[in-house]
């Protein structure tokens, strides 16, 4: 069994370099170029003069990969610990293939679809009142998440293959919980940040004017129209597979037409 050659500092550096993951993103190999680049210093240290071993490792690590940048350090740490032990190349390759997908899934669920809307919603509620604390909270949160990349890397490196099991066992429950949190907040975001207010008023007896918006929609259910429009978008995106760009343009045109018709 090979002795350990990577120091703690090497692993920390690997975590920092994991941010290079997408440096040469492309549709053929996705993140492969950056994935390899980030690991090169560690690989060089492991394979020293053995340039044929280094070559094999580099070739393997140039294969297609697409996973979540905030968590990729975990995978890098795990695999580099196997490289350091000079495990079988096929094991290393197999683990990479088995894990990058689930990590992408968990990461996207947590970071893109849960954390971002929540922290954006909160920050924007400050910013929209002109308070600089909004973007400060936002950036601070993401700096914290970035620092965690180093933590994940150490964790992956230390747990080794055992982490494989843990991840597989809990990935379902975790992304389910994250989604619950996210969905709750999205429900609130729709009520808070989508605004559709009807302008028309109805003339009733005696010259009194009744606003359709306040007298009808706000009475039956506030924010009914924003919710309805959002659900319509959801339906068109999901069931009719219409592209968001088309919907954006259609919405703008619709809004302009309604503006001319004094509806909105």
């Amino acid at each position: 069994m090979a002795s350990k050659v990577l120091t703690k500092k090497d692993v920390t550096m690997l975590g920092i370099r994991s941010s290079l993951l997408q440096a040469s993103f492309n549709y053929e190999r996705m993140q492969a170029g950056g994935w390899l680049w980030a690991q090169l210093p560690a690989l060089k240290k492991i394979y020293k003069q053995d340039s044929s071993a280094l070559s094999s490792a580099m070739v393997d690590n140039l294969e297609f990969i697409n996973t979540h940048p905030n968590l990729v350090g975990f995978l890098m740490g795990l695999l580099i610990s196997l490289e350091e032990n000079h495990e079988d190349r096929n094991l290393i390759k197999g683990l990479k293939l088995a894990l990058f997908g689930p990590i992408a899934g968990i990461g996207d669920a947590i970071f893109w679809f849960t954390f971002l809307p929540i922290i954006a919603g909160i920050s924007c509620s400050f910013a929209s009142e002109g308070l600089i604390i909004g973007p400060i909270i936002f950036v601070a949160s993401y700096v914290a998440i970035w620092i965690l990349r180093i933590v994940w890397t150490h964790m992956g490196y230390t747990l080794g293959t055992k982490s494989f099991e843990i991840l597989k066992d809990n990935s379902d429950i975790i992304s389910n919980s994250a989604t619950i949190l996210g969905i709750t907040v999205i429900g609130a975001l729709i009520a808070t940040y989508v605004s559709i207010e009807l302008l028309p008023v109805i003339q009733v007896a005696g010259g009194i004017e009744v606003s359709i918006q306040t007298a009808f929609f706000d009475t039956i259910f506030p924010k009914l129209l924003p919710m309805a429009y959002t659900l319509l978008m959801f339906y068109l995106l999901k069931k009719k597979q219409i592209s968001p760009v088309v919907l954006i343009i259609a919405t703008i045109i619709l809004a302009i037409i309604c503006s001319y018709m004094n509806l909105l």
Partner: protein, 268 residues
Amino acid sequence: MQITLIQGLLLSIAAIIIGVDYWLEAFFIFRPLVVSTITGIILNDVKLGLTTGALTELAFAGLTPAGGTQPPNPVLAGFMSTVIAYTANVDAKAALGLCLPFSFLMQYVILFYYSAFSFFMAKADKAALEANPNAIGKINVITTLIVAVSYGVIVFACTYLAQDAMANLVNSMPEKLIHGLEVAGGILPAIGFGMLLRVMMKAKYIPYFIVGFLMANFIPMSNLLPVALVGFAFAAYDFFNAKQRKYELQEALARTNINTHGGNQDGI
């Protein structure tokens, strides 16, 4: 208001840094909230940056690159919503509507690079076979640089160079059209949220969706933290409940297996 040359250059430099951040998805200063705030600082109108940023951020909430897709570009949206509100002196909502063409433009530029950079992979394969780390480094640096420069140039052009044309265009727009864009700005977040729902929503999550919606509708609060906390409470409940069920099942099965085994031994 006019953007000075200095401001134009500062915006361009900011665009290079932010553009790289978006390319790498590192510190998330590429989100419209931050981009607009920075633009506001450079243009010396922080408040404008904050309000346009907040609005643009929410409209882009669901437009994520998850899965390797390219959404309308948040960086250009962040820059241009603030810049248009500043130069053409329109409401934040209208500016959101007007910034979108620029966002689409940049989306397509990046999509082009996604395809074009595939050609570097042949070179990379060669470097890997030759165990040549430096060549790999060079490829990554080059691609990143190309992206960085593109952001710098395009943002400079769109903000400093095009400002008069844009202001004229906007000022010649009829009032109803501007109002229509404002209205659109209020509705656009619906599409972002629709995108989020498309990925996340399943029938079993409907209860949480309803509760979040109702809370925001009927309980007065100054921000959404309480809703997030309730959402967290739901998530934690579900988590512990799932674990508990798993445990009870295993317990029960373990007990049965023992019994069954016992029974078998008797029978044989």
